[in-house]
Amino acid sequence: MFKIISANSIRKGFSALVVVTLTTLLSFTAHAADPIKIGAVAPKTGPLAGGAAVTQWPNIELWVKEVNARGGLKLKDGQRMLELIEYDDKTNPGEHIKAVQRLATQDKVDFIVAPYGTGFNIAAAPIYAKYGYPQIAVSAISDKMDELTARYPSLFFTLGTTTAFVNGVKDILAGMRDSGKIGNKIAMVNVADAFGIELAEAARPIFKDAGFDIVYDKSYPLGTPDLSPVVKGAKAAAPDAFVAWSYPPDTFGLTEQAIIEDLQVGAYYTAVATCFPAFGQKFGSKIDGVFGAGGVNPDTEEMQAYFKRHKEMTGKDADYWASANTYVSLQILEQAIEGVGDVDREAVTQYIKDNSFDTIMGEIKFDNQISHKFWTVGQWQDGVFRGVASSNMDGVAEIKEKSGWN
């Protein structure tokens, strides 16, 4: 008897739950006096969560707090505060799409912060386009930008193409070679996932055309626990430069192994997460001279102020690359909304296309929805990760020679 009762009560409880869900879902309606609703979907769990926790979420938090601290966005009919609605996409494209649908059709948010990660930006692009949300993609690099922007009229790219990235690295290495600092032998490794395969594939002909000899070219699976064979293999090939198209956990792992193995190369490059503050904290002075993807010019007043505010408001350090870009994308959105003076998404999208924006990274404007102003390579120099190669950025730092792993 007890069992039957409990089964029934569970059933009742469950149907109650469903009813509550439905009513909650249906009860949102927008009022004119409401704050501007900003939606954000990015991973809080899953493989990309670690990166999003550094680059994406703190900047959203920072931006919303800042705007609200100064009384909201200035629109034609007065100031309006921001209200943030955030969802975890669990690093699952299906979940992401569902959450964006929910933001668009249920929460009826006014704007959505672009997703975190290349795959997610592309997966969500059709929905952004369908509902006309401007999507200022930050953490996405692709060689199909032209095709994608033609397809999705509200999609903007800010971080550069795969080829630009590889060219950045190539230029640095070629410059070092031509000035006699390194020879022409490159050891190249990549993580065998979409990102790494794409970059390695792009890099092979570019490096060869630049007269480099790729003496070691291997991939390793995502989640490899021991990267010492990779570093040992690269070392055995006696390269002058080491280039790794790597993801966060292995960026750390490769560098640790390189230090252990005392990999002596004139240029050492790891891709994503080299710019993370945690990278600097972990390795301290040992990584002086290490190259990585991205970069900033930390000397400008705006950047310094940004770093300070980031630390104060979120309790975390900004990274030395995409954090600033993410913040910039929000600044662009903010200026476009204020420029239009309304939450009219179509007008805002058009405004972004037509205008230039004054950001912490200087003036940004879009050419066919693509910004050509971004950092490609940075280098750790005395505890700061400085941009040393870029597309149209000011304040490119001089390359510092790397002297071992001390």
């Binding site: 739950l17 494209p93 929910r102 592309i122 979409a194």
Partner: protein
């Protein structure tokens, strides 16, 4: 055909027609929930066709799903093939793959099978990534089509309906009867003349086929395929859990698991976006502890107890 069969058939047709109308009534968010549910209905039901009677817990759904998505992506992106051709190729490839895996592993006892299939998605992901990296090369796997969510939903509905029809046919066939016997006692099954290995392999191949189809259909929705995301161990678990939550000894059991699970999942994602995983876990444990025999079990128990009451 018995009257009960006819009634079931009519119910099924009505359900399918109603389901097909969903995109006309709901758009956007509810459609994307329906789409997710439809995907899991197809996956969990085909999973239960094999695992229900045989009690082999297969965690291979993620692997076959991944094969589907990955082949469609690489075919369309790197070789300019049509979506339809690649969908077909993917389904066949996954079926063959399931056959090989089945032949190799279905002789093993249950636990080994569970663990092997758990790692299968990882192994295939590693292998295809390696092949792609070293021999094929890729500048990103894009699946750019003009399909809308409604199109994808209808395709999934077609697959799900096919799974139900297949399941219904199997249940009435010698194959289904053989499976039932195997599930009861494999030794007896062999001694009444059932080729147990073959029977299990055939059914396992069907789960591979359907999971790859679903993966292929979902690929255009993802637009950009990362091996890391399509070969998802989490998907394998969710398929199992939804099926078990519903109940695996009825064809429509998994359906009863998928729908509430999707709704609970959604509710938690909305209410507690910062602690989704934590509360999903708690919801999960609640189900395991309080609904041990799945919703079908719960339903049959209530119905049974009512019957007893009426009789007394």
């Amino acid at each position: 055909m018995k009257s009960a069969d006819i009634r079931a058939l009519v119910t099924a047709v009505v359900c399918i027609v109603l389901a097909a109308l969903v995109p006309f009534v709901f758009n956007g968010y509810w459609l994307s929930i329906a789409l997710t549910a439809m995907m899991y209905i197809a996956l969990s039901t085909s999973w239960a066709l094999f695992s229900g009677p045989t009690h082999y817990i297969s965690l291979a759904s993620g692997a076959f799903f991944g094969v589907g998505g990955y082949l469609v992506a690489t075919g369309m992106s790197d070789y300019n093939q049509s979506f339809w051709l690649m969908m077909f190729v993917a389904a066949i490839a996954a079926t063959v793959l399931a056959g090989l895996i089945g032949l190799a592993t279905l002789r093993l006892s249950g636990v080994y099978f569970v663990i092997f299939t758990l790692g299968l998605a990882e192994m295939i992901r590693n292998l295809v990534s390696w092949v792609q990296n070293n021999f094929l090369g890729s500048r990103g796997l894009y699946v750019l089509t003009d399909f809308t969510e409604a199109h994808i939903y209808w395709m999934l509905l077609t697959v799900a309906s096919a799974v139900f029809i297949f399941g219904w046919l199997v249940e009435r066939s010698r194959l289904g009867f053989a499976l039932k016997i195997i599930g009861n006692d494999e030794t007896v099954a062999r001694h009444v003349g059932i080729n147990t290995a073959w029977t299990k392999v055939v059914l396992f191949m069907s789960t591979g086929f359907f999971a790859a189809l679903v993966g292929a259909i979902i690929a255009p929705r993802y637009s950009y395929i990362e091996p890391n995301l399509v070969f998802s161990p989490e998907l394998s678990f969710l398929v199992v859990i939804m099926a078990l939550l519903g109940g695996t000894h009825r064809l429509w059991g998994p359906l009863l698991g998928v729908i509430p699970f999707t709704l609970i999942w959604e509710a938690i994602s909305i209410w507690i976006p910062n602690f989704t995983t934590l509360f999903l876990g708690i919801a999960f444990l609640t189900i395991v502890y309080f609904v041990p025999n799945g919703f079908v079990g719960l339903l049959e128990k209530t119905r049974g107890s009512r019957g007893v009451k009426a009789g007394s």
